[in-house]
Subunit: 355 residues, 4 copies
């Protein structure tokens, strides 16, 4: 039986991705779309400034936007709420929904670092989901909150995990080239970015550095312990690309790889993929795809690999300065880095009878 | 008395910058502009596809392009030849010109690493110019060859030098976002770069890694010795920016800076600037300019700082992972990274009675 | 039974579109891909610089590129040759293929205005196909040549035809904003177009003005007679858009429309669509789609309407100055304006037993 | 003696241009900069998001922004107020300032069509300034209001005027490609315009059509009479260009030009330039510059012609369909189309002892 789901913050760029992924999902029935007062009362198709590469789903002509209001999201109507809210609003709304028995899959940055809230990049740390039992107990919730990581972190950690398993990672230096969509539909005025780079994204570097340690951490005694053996230094920059976050990654390894072919094999095989074989509809066949051309991946050409759920890696080469390797990685920031991973988390929760 | 100068490869993007800088230079008289057969015989203004932000200089309507031919560049007519040739052509032509008594200031990548050829970023290593005495003796030349560094290397090493003097640099990890002009006028088709990044620039990373060691090296016993105490790892990427190479720089330091203010002061003061007080017309007042805003420098807004000869640095912050600092640097790739530094080198040669 | 087909000029942007459309076509079996000497001998996937929004078809890994050579394209192997050749090469090769019995569907501009060569925009003038009988007789060919119109002309005339049928068109003034892909994969260097417009496309305005009259003309006594009652004035400009030609169209009409709704109905109904009901696989359900939003169509959002085969029209409004109407039209220049229409023509030829 | 001037709305894109032009003006002393509450109390340099191609003027570090408040702009302190306000705010503030004796040079669209308010494109209609005498009498003002035309209209009418004088213009069809800056600093989100065109600018077409008739009209008996012998039809579109509005112009003429050379001469000579010889500092040497290359003007290369005050015209050719000519025109929308023309108007007012 399909779960009834809602989207809170349905008209922004992440909301649009949620809408696109959920409107024809085999396990979910999109019943409720909520947005700010300005959009409320209008048909979704008429209110949204749709910018995706796919045409508007049919459901967009059927669903009317409701104003965000906790009391409308009753347990009778809704099993899972996907949220793409600003952190401030999320901090108020999400715990209250969880208290009322709703399972919240949240893209907001609030609460991501709390030790009983799972921060899930499923292939990497689906096992962290077990913290929900403690979360419910601690907080007296019938529902739950599971968090989608920051977009850059989701892409980065997916590429790092197989390397960490095989070689042990000590230090990571990462320099990003992030897409416009990461700032939201209207976040970057064109006058500021045409023929330009903006070398600053508020809070981003701190998120990447802290969240990576949590995602690569371990569930112990009811809390997620950070992995403090890995240190990440990030420098984050906005470039003139619609979708797809790119990053140059420099990694210090504990163990020396035999050769580049071995590394490619380790990444593409992804032995410890935590959701392998679960049959989750949104899981990509290959979480990490390695390209061998000298000039790939490229965001415009590769961001939709694996329906936007794969991270694409290229230019893997030895890095003697770092005592390890360097490579270039790309992921779709509003799919793998936001709504796609949100839907994948919800699928995992259903599979594990947690939603 | 003004020196008579020529430009070889005058119609490309670096050639245009040379033309712009030399057509009204106080010390140089631009007498000869040379290009490929296709342009030869035409007035410069009519043949060039001018793309600079300044209008065409008047001289562009006066000078006729001649075909590149060594025999036309006689010592009687020309004192200094500025070259913006492909490496292959340069390898043939430049030594022959030097043999015939011409001083060649070359932007070509050929011969940059030969130990008796100075690779000059004047504020950093103007003293390397003394190798010319040995070069002449070794090679039996009356003229000389001095090389302009790779564009990224010129910008990077200028930002590193004051740090190295004060704190000692052990390791540098650099990730670049390079402008279109670095690939030449027609090097990057628009279909390949719009809404995209190209994560590869042939030979660039190797140049940055090797040339940095030479520029920061020392002249000893007639050769430039590489500075092997510094290790540089580069990852180079092309982005949709007209001019201005940006880079995220992560530096491991030997000595810990007191605080960010001290670092800013060290960079802006640039105590060991090797051309301080020489009165070279193209030398910027401040070789390194530090911005304190969180989101600067930006290529479109800052690339013309110091007439394009300053490197602009921002976002200096501690980097515990690297055991040092990280910052963002920007320089004008066809001025500081090519023609501007070429002209500055020529001014230095004149000042030192070497041209 | 499937027809065996070849693509000549398979690696350029139009060649890529042909490859994409033909590699899984229900009626055609792509057997031969030809390109210049530089690509010959390589697997298609390894030689092509693929830039389409869809991933490379599987066939790209199976077919080896052959060098363009008339003798390889025998009647035994190939029924239809799709050409995306430069006009000069096409002028030599295409008639010779037709002489040898091959049916050539050509995107090249050569011969487009010859009176016994059909210039086909199928919904508009599929009946012109009957001129092939005279073409064969005149020229002694067993094969035939059918031409795809210039990209802008194909889009423009499709939007004009229903208006012409209903109201009679006297004058058309059209100002275009054309995509980069119209100049080929490497035709527009990024340095020339970033933050810019190029207000000139060689030969384009003449093509639009002349070809429109032929497409809207009539087959009489074995030749296509131009429609000289319609006068078109074009001004053509290149803008920074990947794909999709946009145009502002001002039309003087003989008969006054009742209101805008009537015009929308006339365009969307397209009563005299010459291929209605033929069941051609590439024919769009609605050749003209009208959008009612004030700010549509937009190239990035609407160019793939009808799989790129529909022309999308918006902002239809009265124009008292022209004594008629004005509107904004958009079409996919390498699908509707090139390869897509080429495949549609081939389907029509098969349906009419001409190929 | 210098006039004391203020800028209302000083931090937006037009405000920045006013600041740049006025901070070192020979006749004006910039004393007061006003903006919204958010900026008030801050040094101009610290509040503005400066995007111009020139560095911030020194005055930007000296002047503190004050909140917009009519009572602060006393006649004792301020002679002329330059306004770059939204139309709503302007409608309230500007008449009140004029009543209090301030001369207002306004870029706002409010009141532009009122018959006793001059709408000035000085080379075209400086003589309309005499309506101020009637304006003062009608409205009981000691000050005055003079309006800057809509940006597109200013550029268009400057190119049309010499043609109208020589040949008589009956109809004009114009299709524009307008820069991002026309929508203000943050008006066009980058997600909406990258790889795209927006074919709609609210109110723009109506402004062009109506204001052109007023600018080309005549002052008679105390009011500006519209020139109803000229009919203009416009289609306006936003493209991905920072600054510089481009337009394809199709003109029906009463009298046939002898040849293209004659037209070039008519445009460049501009016989009836109404401010010729007045010595206004901001007046360009040549109001209309004609380029003879097939592919010029181009916005990035030509927008700063005449310090941004010249309109650049190219591709003049016969248009048989329109019974006249067609050409491509370019002007700097925030200089010629806004602040530059504003400053030129103020200079004219000073020269005529009206301010």
């Amino acid at each position: 039986m399909k779960r009834s789901v809602a989207i809170l913050g349905a008209t922004g760029i992440v909301g649009q991705r949620f809408f696109s992924l959920l409107s024809e999902h085999p396990w979910f029935d999109l019943r409720l779309v909520m947005a700010s007062e300005r959009s409320a009362g209008k048909i979704y198709a008429e209110s949204v400034k749709w910018v995706l590469e796919k045409p508007l789903p049919k459901k967009a002509y059927e669903l009317t936007i409701e104003q965000i209001d906790i009391d409308t999201i009753t347990r009778e109507k809704i099993d899972i709420a996907f949220t793409a809210l600003p952190a401030d609003a999320a901090k108020e709304i999400e715990p209250e929904l969880a208290r009322r028995g709703i399972v919240v899959v949240s893209n907001a940055s609030s609460m991501r670092l709390e030790p009983d809230i799972p921060l899930l990049n499923p292939e990497v740390n689906a096992d962290h989901i077990d913290v929900i039992e403690f979360q419910r107990r601690n907080r007296g919730w019938n529902g739950a909150i599971a968090k989608v990581p920051n977009c850059t972190t989701a892409i980065l950690t997916l590429s790092l995990k197989p390397l960490h398993d095989e070689y042990g990672i000590k230090r990571v230096v990462v320099s990003t080239m992030q897409a416009l969509s990461g700032a939201g539909l209207t976040g970057v005025p064109s006058m500021f970015i045409l023929d330009n780079i903006i070398p600053y994204i508020e809070g981003e570097e701190e998120k990447v550095e802290a969240e990576s340690r949590k995602i690569l951490g371990t569930l112990k005694q009811g809390v997620i312990e950070l992995n403090n053996s890995i240190a990440v230094s990030a420098s984050c920059h906005r470039v003139m690309v619609l979708e797809g976050h790119s990053m140059a990654v420099f990694v210090e390894l504990e163990k020396k790889p035999r050769d580049i072919e071995e590394i490619i094999n380790v990444m593409e095989t992804f032995k410890d993929n935590k959701i392998k074989g679960l049959g989750l509809p949104t899981a990509p066949e290959k979480p990490v795809v390695v390209r061998r051309e000298v000039d790939r991946p490229q965001p415009r050409l590769d961001r939709l690999e694996g329906n936007g759920m794969s991270v694409v890696v290229g230019r893997i080469r030895e890095d003697k300065v770092m005592n390890g390797i360097k490579y270039f990685a790309l992921g779709h920031n509003t799919i793998r880095g936001a709504a796609g991973t949100g839907v994948l988390i919800a699928e995992l929760l259903v599979k594990k009878d947690l939603a």
